[in-house]
């Protein structure tokens, strides 16, 4: 296995872990971590791609993606805090008033 395919496989595994935690977890914090994990996997691929093609564009994109991820985390934490502030238990599916 070439290093690049190794990187790719790692990225796919990390990505799947992130997606799995989105499906599996009920705690909003774990969900946010899952989403961040998916972003990290993408960043890994971007860096790998820069190695393959020898371009700087994907490295720049990786940095920008970090910033986007940070912005996302800030807003996500704020929203999660606001939603679950008044609840004793922190379970995602307790907030399911809007339905049907």
């Amino acid at each position: 296995m070439t290093p690049i395919s190794l990187l790719l496989v790692t990225a796919v595994v990390v990505f799947s872990l992130g997606a799995a935690s989105l499906v599996q977890r009920r705690n909003p914090m774990s969900l946010l971590m899952g989403a961040e994990l998916m972003l990290s996997a993408s960043i890994l691929v971007l860096v790998a791609s820069s190695r393959v093609h020898g371009t700087a564009s994907s490295q720049a994109a990786a940095l920008l993606a970090l910033v986007l991820g940070a912005a996302e985390a800030v807003i996500g934490l704020a929203l999660a805090l606001a939603v679950f502030r008044n609840r004793a238990r922190v379970d995602l599916d307790d907030a399911s008033e809007v339905r049907r």
């Binding site: 599916d93 399911s96 049907r100």
Partner: protein, 579 residues
């Protein structure tokens, strides 16, 4: 002046604006000018039809090219040919009478402005439908009359059942609209108008003509309440009586037949579809007659009669006699509108009572409606010589006999059925004694109709008696329609007003009429449910599916995430396995 004929559909529009502004103070008092103008323009068009000048035909098209640039057939065209102008005259005449009638009928209603505005929407859309030169333009009017029909059926929206009746009409119409939409997109390039369609069909160069004919006929079935799609028309009687008279018997439901006549060249080259039209029409004709015999509600009885008569027109279309179908459409518009409006006079006199078991003996109390109803009923059963219904029905029977002996015999026998339900409704309403369901003492409870409920109907009565002469002596109608829909060869018509066939059918009808007296219900029986089982089943299925769809939306974010990610995974998998 003749250039305006193609714009006739715009005439009712100013009155919609007036209605929105709440003018004039007596709602709708001037609205009749719209349909009257339509009628006048139609007469102008009729008088100019044959003549052509150097500049082209005397009654020019209105044409806006590139109106819908994304369609091959994307022009906005109104094409006032003989067929369109004749139909326009019918629509103009009947609606003028009914506007005046509605002024009396809706006098007490505080929402008159809205009522007349909706009627104006209807007349404008109907005129556009009639004048349309291609399917796209037709579809605008087609959907417009469907919308107006819904709004008018649900006009008394606070009464139970009106909204669901309106929804039924919308649902049935939706099937037709979908078929028409598909027909538009399925039309091959190069077919820019109905004329092109007819030419292509006659030359045999129309690709997919079976598909196109089928789609168009499904649309016609939905609009004209044929076959399995009949169910919405009886329910539509929940609307005010002028609406039942104008939309749901005389003009709108006839739009399906009109479309069938328009595209009869395509039917002619699609024998399978024609056969389907014949059988569905025949079945509907008999079924409507039998169902009418079982109704306790006067308006629903008449509604099933419309279903049956429209079925007869479709039989004529199916056997390739579009001229006869159109002729019957014209006379039917007159006598059925007359029947409904005079029945409305009775209902108005009885303070909204619609059950015939609660009527009876009204010929003294309501002489005007009585006489008018009788004229309409006699025209419906086709009393020879003196009524218009006889002339047009005669033509259909004759074509049916030519087509197939047994078909003709069945249809002649069906004249007895027509007579029976007409007689049953007539005798139950005007003879005998008031049913025991009636409260109040005799004629005191009946208030005499105002002149508005009688005099505007006189033109309709004259039409119900005299429209037969449109064809028989000079062939006025066949001359107007020449080149669009050709009348059958002169030999079969030459016998004049009295044909032996007509006499036989008339006699059978009259016998049925008097036999109908025996069928008068003695006590109030609940009418059988108008909604057929298959429609109910379909409604249940849709309700079930809707409930399941809603149950899927649990509000739980974990399930939403699962659905999102699983769908994505499946999509990626699908794409990769097919790569």
């Amino acid at each position: 002046m003749t250039g305006l004929v193609g714009w006739a559909w715009a005439l009712p529009l100013p009155f919609i604006v007036l209605g929105i502004l709440g003018l004039p103070r007596r709602g709708g008092a001037v609205s009749f000018l719209g349909p009257l103008g339509v009628f006048a323009l139609a007469l102008v068009g009729l008088s100019q039809l044959g003549e052509t000048s150097l500049a082209g035909p005397a009654v020019p098209d209105v044409r806006i090219d590139g109106f819908l640039p994304f369609l091959p057939d994307g022009a906005f065209v109104t094409h006032p040919d003989g067929l369109a102008v004749s139909m326009l005259a019918v629509v103009g005449l009947v609606s003028t009478c009914i506007y005046l009638y509605a002024l009396g009928y809706m006098e007490q209603d505080e929402n008159r402005h809205r009522f007349f505005a909706f009627l104006d929407v209807f007349v404008a859309s109907m005129c556009l439908l009639v004048l349309a030169g291609n399917i796209t333009t037709l579809l605008i009017g087609w959907a417009g009359v469907g919308l107006a029909s819904f709004l008018l059926i649900s006009f008394w929206w606070e009464r139970p059942g009106t909204l669901s009746a309106g929804a039924e009409a919308l649902a049935a119409n939706a099937i037709g609209d979908a078929a028409l939409l598909l027909a538009i997109v399925a039309l091959p390039a190069g077919i820019y108008s109905f004329d092109d369609l007819a030419i292509a069909a006659r030359q045999g160069s129309l690709v997919q003509h079976n598909l196109i004919a089928f789609l168009l006929i499904v649309a016609a079935f939905a609009k004209s309440a044929q076959g399995p799609l009949y169910f919405w028309l009886p329910s539509a009687m929940a609307g005010p009586t002028p609406v039942s008279a104008l939309l749901h018997s005389a003009t709108m439901v006839a739009a399906g037949v009109y479309l069938g006549v328009r595209v009869s060249p395509v039917l002619a080259v699609s024998p399978e579809v024609s056969r389907m039209v014949l059988w569905v029409g025949l079945f509907t004709m008999l079924f409507g007659g039998v169902m009418s015999l079982r109704q306790d509600n006067l308006k629903k009885g008449l509604a099933f009669s419309s279903v049956s008569q429209l079925g007869m027109m479709f039989v004529a279309l199916g056997i390739g006699a579009p001229f006869a179908a159109f002729f019957h459409l014209v006379t039917h518009a007159a006598f059925k509108a007359l029947l409904f409006t005079s029945a409305g006079g009775v209902i108005h006199g009885l303070h909204g009572e619609e059950r015939i078991s609660h009527m009876g003996g009204l010929r003294k109390a309501l002489p005007g409606p009585h006489l008018l109803f009788l004229i309409g009923a006699l025209s419906l059963i086709g009393l020879p010589i003196v009524t218009a219904g006889a002339a047009s029905k005669d033509l259909i029977l004759e074509s049916a006999l030519h087509h197939d002996r047994w078909l003709g015999i069945v249809m002649i026998a069906a004249a007895g059925l027509t007579g029976a339900y007409a007689g049953r409704l007539y005798f139950a309403t005007f003879y005998g004694s008031r049913g025991h369901g009636s409260h109040g003492d005799g004629d005191h409870a009946v208030h005499a109709p105002s002149g508005w409920l009688v005099w505007p109907l006189v033109p309709l009565a004259l039409g119900a008696l005299g429209f037969g002469f449109l064809e028989v002596p000079g062939g006025l109608l066949s001359r107007a329609l020449a080149g669009v829909v050709d009348a059958p060869a002169a030999s079969s018509l030459g016998t004049g007003v009295v044909t032996s066939l007509g006499l036989i059918a008339g006699a059978i009808g009259l016998a049925g009429f008097f036999a109908g007296r025996l069928l008068v219900p003695s006590k109030s029986t609940p009418s059988p449910a108008a909604r057929p089982a298959w429609v109910q089943a379909l409604v249940d299925v849709f309700d079930f599916l809707a409930e399941q769809t809603l149950a899927f939306h649990t509000g739980r974010t974990s399930q939403y995430l699962l659905a999102t990610l699983v769908t994505t995974a499946l999509a990626v998998g699908f794409v990769l396995t097919r790569a």
